[in-house]
Amino acid sequence: MQGVARNSPFPHRHLLGIEGLSPEDIRHVLDLADGYVDLNRQAEKKRALLRGRTIINCFFENSTRTRTSFEVAGKRLGGDVINMSVAASSMHKGETLIDTAMTLNAMHPDVLIVRHPESGAVQLLSEKLDCAVINAGDGSHEHPTQALLDALAIRRRKGRLGGLTVAICGDVLHSRVARSNIALLNTMGARVRVVAPRTLLPAEIERLGVEVFHEMAEGLADVDIVMMLRLQSERMHGAFVPSTREYFHFFGLDYDKLRAAKPDALIMHPGPMNRGVEIGSEVADDIDRSLIRQQVEMGVAVRMACLEILTRDLGNGPPVP
């Protein structure tokens, strides 16, 4: 068996969330990912770090972007990536979740990447598996690689995370992206605000270390980063907000509202965007202000870094009976 570094810079078996990661852990991922950004821009992008490793993309919820991003990341590192989509309909009865875990486990994957519509489901899976697990989004809980890629995009443009003021705007209630970003930005010493109508904020959100605003002009005043969240269509028409028109009027990002932010404030969105609902097209496509395309690019680099970190101490010992 290969020795395991005692002072491993990332002492975690899985990546289930940002909560629990130290500033050093986060910095380590970002530093490594920085290198992969350069690699990804070369013509020859392939590495052999994950040669012989099996990575299973196991998505219990529809996703194109995140799944593809992980797939590209795994393949660039030379791993074998298998995509498994478990249709939401056949998973309605959750009891098959543990059965699924057992089935996958028997295939001896090295890394399992999981997205699931229920908060906590990825952790439950990780307890039944003997491979590394990456949470690619669980319910309204966490989406750690999204927060890491957001942090990388910010750091590359602003040179730092500490001391920045970031406004997270929109459907915080249902957003795993918001929770992971709040945890990460607070850990790295940024100031975090949330801006949303009261129907889209969870109770006691201020206990997570954020300032709460219900008005865009106030919430965006002097911020460095404006992070917009996606509003899912089933929540737009009366359930949580009365209409897309009203939502855009008060909470959608356009140049008028953006004026409150710092002149060099940057705009982010985890995608996919609802243009004209939470973000106006002219702002989203502003190449000077919008980081949205860079976010996608950073996604692959961050996921390569995560795959490398979680597999490097696995060793290649005799098979476990």
Partner: protein, 433 residues
């Protein structure tokens, strides 16, 4: 005739307030004499010298899900009976949410017959307030009561429609029947599965506002003001809920309520990292709510403690949090968890026993829950101070879903007697923790 003499017990009779050392004589299925030295009267009886152990009326557990008929793989009348016996429970009252539900006289009769066959703890049942627990049409309350139903409730569901509830209460009043409510406004509860607050927000779990409880209680209380029906709020769990009942009692309304051990022994932090064993309905709440429940028990606002026994098999709980079933088993932990209130100085022993015996018996109008000549010989003998650990693997219940595994507690049932018959006995010391 079976004659049994307990010597030198600490006799606890909440009805008379008796708490003193003495003897108790059982003859047949009745208590023959209580207190003092009964060696003469009990000369040829089987004699047990219990040397200071507590002897109290058997516990009356007013909220138990039996799962029979319909889900016998989770619990049955026999396994629940064994669990009750081990927990010192001599009377339990079943919720009507079986399959088929208890909304018909034939199901009441079935339960009574099964209880006679199994012959462990006494079993009574509530009947559904509405047919098929659907919240629309009244059940045959008069006939159901005449055949033994001790109260009317839709079980783990609230009667949502205010007009239906008004008619349930009014019709029940016609026959002076007891109506019980699961206190949760269903349209608010639809939003989630844990209580709103920091824990839910951190875990990203959909949450229910705590006022869902008091909204339902206050609606019902207004209806009770009109109808005058005997109304009981089941498992009160919030500060506002306790306060609403306190005010209604001060106002003189015929209202009573109970709570269950998790609501004074745990708060929402027990959910930890998505522990489905801590998923309850109503949900575990904040520490302030927990303290308000303790205070409600202390000042008598909360009349009774019920186990809220809800057996679920592994397949129902080993799931992502949102998919998992609500509830925990409680028959075997009812006494030791309740004794925490005594050991922590919140309640005197006799006051605690009253909330487990004579108070629920009075609400249900059952002739049990007291140590008095000619009362049924339903007794529990227990050590109040013995330290041990809860071990869910040792549960007699068919289901082991409880968040209390490994919890250090004090108090141990040593013998349970129903109608003079010993249905549980443990002479051994509790294994050291």
């Amino acid at each position: 005739m079976n004659r049994l003499l307990f010597r030198r017990a600490r006799l606890l009779d909440p009805e008379s307030g008796l708490d003193s050392r003495g003897d108790l004589l059982v003859e047949g299925d009745r208590i023959a004499a209580v207190g003092g030295d009964l060696t003469v009267a009990g000369r040829d009886a089987e004699t047990v010298d219990v040397d200071g152990l507590c002897l109290a009326p058997g516990l009356v557990d007013m909220r138990v899900q039996l799962r029979e008929p319909g889900a016998e793989h989770m619990e049955s009348i026999e396994t629940a009976g064994c669990a009750a016996a081990a927990g010192g429970v001599t009377t339990m009252v079943a919720l009507p949410n079986t399959d088929p539900p208890v909304d018909d006289v034939s199901v009441v009769e079935f339960l009574a017959r099964r209880a006679r066959e199994v012959k462990l703890a006494k079993i009574h049942t509530y009947a559904a307030a509405t047919k098929a627990l659907a919240g629309r049409d009244l059940t045959e309350m008069g006939l159901l009561a005449a055949n033994g139903a001790v109260g009317f409730t839709d079980g783990v569901k609230a009667v949502a429609d205010a007009l239906v509830m008004r008619r349930v209460l009014a019709y029940a009043r016609t026959f002076d029947l007891l109506v019980l409510q699961h206190p949760e406004e269903p349209s608010l509860a639809r939003a989630g599965e844990v209580s709103e607050g920091e824990v839910a927000t951190r875990l990203g779990l959909p949450a229910i506002t705590p006022v869902a409880e008091v909204i339902m209680i206050e609606r019902d209380l207004r209806l009770v003001e009109i109808t005058g029906t005997r109304y009981h709020v089941a498992h009160v769990s919030s500060a506002a809920g306790v306060e609403a009942v306190r005010r209604a009692k001060a106002q003189g309304l015929p209202v009573t309520c109970d709570t269950a051990p998790p609501y004074f022994a745990l708060n929402e932090t027990a959910i930890g990292d998505y522990r489905t064993f801590a998923k309850l309905s109503p949900p575990l709440r904040s520490e302030w709510d927990r303290r308000a429940v303790v205070e409600g028990l202390r000042d008598g606002t909360i009349d009774a403690i019920a186990s809220d026994h809800s057996p679920w098999d592994q397949d129902s709980k080993r799931l992502p949090f949102s998919s998992a079933a609500y509830g925990i088993v409680g028959l075997e932990t009812l006494l030791p968890l309740s004794l925490e209130l005594y050991h922590n100085g919140h309640l005197g022993l006799i006051d605690l026993i009253r909330r487990l015996t004579s108070n629920p018996a009075a609400i249900l109008r059952l002739p049990v829950g007291r140590l008095a000549p000619d009362a049924p010989a339903d007794l529990v003998l227990f050590e109040p101070d013995l330290s041990c650990q809860i071990c869910t693997d040792d549960f007699r219940s068919k289901s082991k879903n409880a968040p209390f595994d490994g919890r250090p507690v004090r108090g141990k049932v040593r013998r349970t007697i129903v109608d003079g018959r010993t249905i549980f006995r443990q002479e051994l010391q509790c294994p050291a923790s």
